[in-house]
């Protein structure tokens, strides 16, 4: 279970965020001041921090800087702000925030961002190995894909889609699952997109004479197998 540190002094907001994130399966700890936030960052320790800019004792930017300076430079930090002035956004990103959300935000969007940030962290923390299916090889450390000894250039989303299919080789993955895992949302608007991306992948993986490796399971989804 991923641990999230939520730093905000507005109890109404922390109240619903804690409950909502708990529904989504996260372990949440709340800090209402910058001081408790920095303490919790040491002994909780969080996998991700959601940080409000307006805190009673210290500026959110300053907390962000100290969290970064305090060791874990990969710790994902998502800033929350009621101000949408350009300067604030720049300051937030300059001080090491990975992402920011402007109030009023949609809860689902926050969850999607949290999920994406954790996935990125997981990807960098994971021991580097290769995934292999036949002559298709995916280098997790370098994020490179090789087929029959030839390097294939993929975009981020294409890579993520292929990685997902390769991790579940021989299993049928539904469009819902693919879209949710790669784009972060469960939305049927994107089902056509999956088809488009599968086609991109197929044409890139085909090279000149390689056999089809991604198979359509009519009415269900897609499967990667030899």
């Amino acid at each position: 279970m991923s641990q999230i540190l939520l730093v905000d002094d507005e109890t109404v907001i922390t109240g619903f965020l804690r409950r909502g994130l708990a529904y989504k399966g996260y372990d949440v700890r709340i800090a209402e001041t910058a001081e408790t936030a920095l303490d919790s960052a040491r002994d909780f320790p969080p996998d991700l921090v959601i940080l409000d800019i307006g805190l009673p004792d210290l500026d959110g930017h300053e907390v962000c800087r100290r969290l970064r300076a305090g060791g874990d430079s990969d710790l994902p930090i998502i800033m929350l702000t009621a101000k949408d002035s350009v300067q604030d956004k720049i300051a937030g990103l300059d001080n090491g925030a990975d992402d920011y959300l402007t109030k009023p935000f949609v809860f689902d969007e926050l969850v999607a961002r949290v999920r994406a940030a954790l996935r990125r962290r997981e990807a960098t923390a994971r021991p580097a190995t290769n995934l292999e299916v036949g002559n298709l090889r995916l280098d997790l450390a370098a994020r490179q894909v090789w087929r029959a000894g030839q390097l294939i250039e993929l975009t981020t989303r294409e890579y993520e889609l292929l990685e997902l299919l390769m991790r579940h080789k021989g299993q049928v993955l539904t469009k819902e699952i693919l879209f949710e895992r790669v784009w972060g949302y469960d939305n049927e608007a994107g089902f056509e997109v999956i088809k488009v991306y599968i086609n991109y992948l197929r044409s890139k993986l085909k090279l000149t004479d390689q056999p089809e490796i991604i198979h359509t399971v009519r009415g269900v989804g897609y499967m990667l197998k030899l």
């Binding site: 507005e10 109404v12 907001i13 109240g15 619903f16 965020l17 409950r19 909502g20 529904y23 989504k24 009621a82 949408d84 350009v86 956004k89 720049i90 990103l93 402007t102 109030k103 009023p104 935000f105 949609v106 809860f107 689902d108 969007e109 999607a112 975009t155 981020t156 989303r157 294409e158 784009w183 972060g184 949302y185 939305n187 608007a189 994107g190 056509e192 997109v193 488009v196 991306y197």
Partner: protein, 405 residues
């Protein structure tokens, strides 16, 4: 000297705009024409009276002298009287002609002089006609005008009035900005609490439906507040509406997916279908770009009948129609299956507070800000929005944003 200084500050096209050059019936003409006419008529009358008096005095004097000549015969005196009478007639005609000529010259000179005198007034009128508070008129440097006292007083009063108007306009803007801003925190809380409530699996079905209804209205309210805030921000930054710092890289495909998700939530009756989704990035403001997409999606969904679908695409293009700059573009296309846009409305739909006049079969929502804000945001990213009616049915909005180097 004075005249040239004023003329330099005149605005090109001003005369045409004020229609000062058109010839009108004299009595309905410009102030300078009318003033000159009255002056000249008075002058002409005076000159004519003077001519009569001169004629009378000269002939009488000569006749008196003629009769006083001793030793002149009756025939000589008759001849003398005849000569005096002829000379008098020529004199009178000459005087009358001279008066008319003088009057004409005076008319022309008077028009020229009064026009010069009244030029500051024309400039003032032009300012009043074209005034739109931006850039702030009272903050612009202005030279002291060389003009008559009355005109200077008028100018001063106008400026004082303008200052009061500007202050109240600024106060109104600040008020809207502050209120919209203050609304954000309670909106965040409300929306968050409601969304989290809906996550509860044990919720009663009826209650869930009611809460979903509340949630939809709340999202509409947040959309409205966001548009108001952007509008205020754009108004405050005239004439360079929205300034965007290109620091953050925005993933356009994720942005479209998120916008589609939020828009779909507000209206379940119309299906949003993403058919093309290239993976594109550009430097810009993600919040503003999402607002742009949401505004256009709202618009498309408003005009699409229940059960129909809206097609969304994101792809690259190399040449933007009507744009000289040759670069790569990201193009969002939103194709609805509504009734299309009336040709009369087409040139105006991106104007502030513009709403179509024609009563639509589907409810028209919004306050005329949505498309205006969308076009501002596109401009702020050096892009633009093109609209066309499809030959079959519906309309297509394409948002062109340059991808940069």
């Amino acid at each position: 000297m004075v005249g040239t200084r004023i003329r330099k500050r005149l605005v090109p096209g001003m005369y045409k705009r004020l229609r000062l050059n058109s010839w009108r019936p004299l009595l309905a003409g410009s102030l300078s024409q009318r003033l000159a006419l009255w002056n000249v008529l008075a002058l002409l009358a005076a000159l004519l009276v003077m001519s009569g008096v001169v004629y009378w005095l000269v002939t009488q004097r000569l006749l008196t002298e003629l009769h006083a000549q001793a030793g002149a015969s009756a025939a000589e005196i008759r001849l003398g009287a005849l000569v005096i009478e002829r000379v008098g007639t020529v004199l009178l005609v000459g005087l009358i002609f001279g008066s008319v000529l003088a009057a004409l010259l005076a008319y022309a000179g008077s028009i020229w002089l009064t026009q010069r005198e009244l030029r500051p007034l024309q400039k003032l009128t032009y300012t009043m006609q074209t005034l739109d508070f931006r850039p702030k008129y009272t903050e612009q440097p202005r030279a002291e005008i060389a003009a008559a006292t009355e005109i200077r007083q008028l100018q001063k009063s106008f400026e004082a009035m303008l200052a009061r108007l500007e202050t109240s306009a600024q106060r109104e803007q600040a008020f809207v900005a502050e209120v919209s801003h203050e609304l954000r925190t309670p909106l965040t809380t409300l929306r968050g609490q409601i969304e989290v409530m809906l996550l509860n699996p044990d919720l009663d079905r009826q209650i869930r439906q009611d809460i979903e209804g509340l949630n939809i209205e709340l999202q509409r309210l947040s959309r409205l507040v966001a548009n108001l805030l952007t509008d205020v921000r754009a108004e405050a930054q005239q004439p360079n509406p929205l300034y965007v710092v290109r620091q953050q890289s925005v993933e356009l495909d994720l942005l479209l997916v998120e916008a589609a998700r939020q828009a779909q939530f507000l209206n379940q009756n119309v299906r949003l279908n993403i058919t093309q989704l290239e993976q594109l990035q550009l430097a810009g403001d993600p919040d503003l770009l999402k607002q742009l997409l949401l505004n256009l999606l709202d618009n498309a969904m408003t005009y699409t009948p229940t059960g129909q679908q809206i097609c969304l695409q994101l792809q690259t293009a190399s040449a933007c129609p009507g744009w000289a700059k040759d670069s790569e573009w990201a193009v969002f296309q939103i194709t609805d299956s509504g009734p299309g846009i009336a040709p009369d409305d087409l040139p105006h739909i991106f104007e502030r507070h513009y709403r179509t006049h024609k009563k639509c079969a589907f409810q028209a929502s919004g306050n005329g800000l949505g498309l205006y804000i969308a076009s501002l945001i596109a401009q702020a990213h050096d892009g633009k929005i093109l609209v066309e009616n499809l030959p079959t049915r519906g309309s297509c909005f394409s948002i062109w944003l340059p991808l940069g180097k």
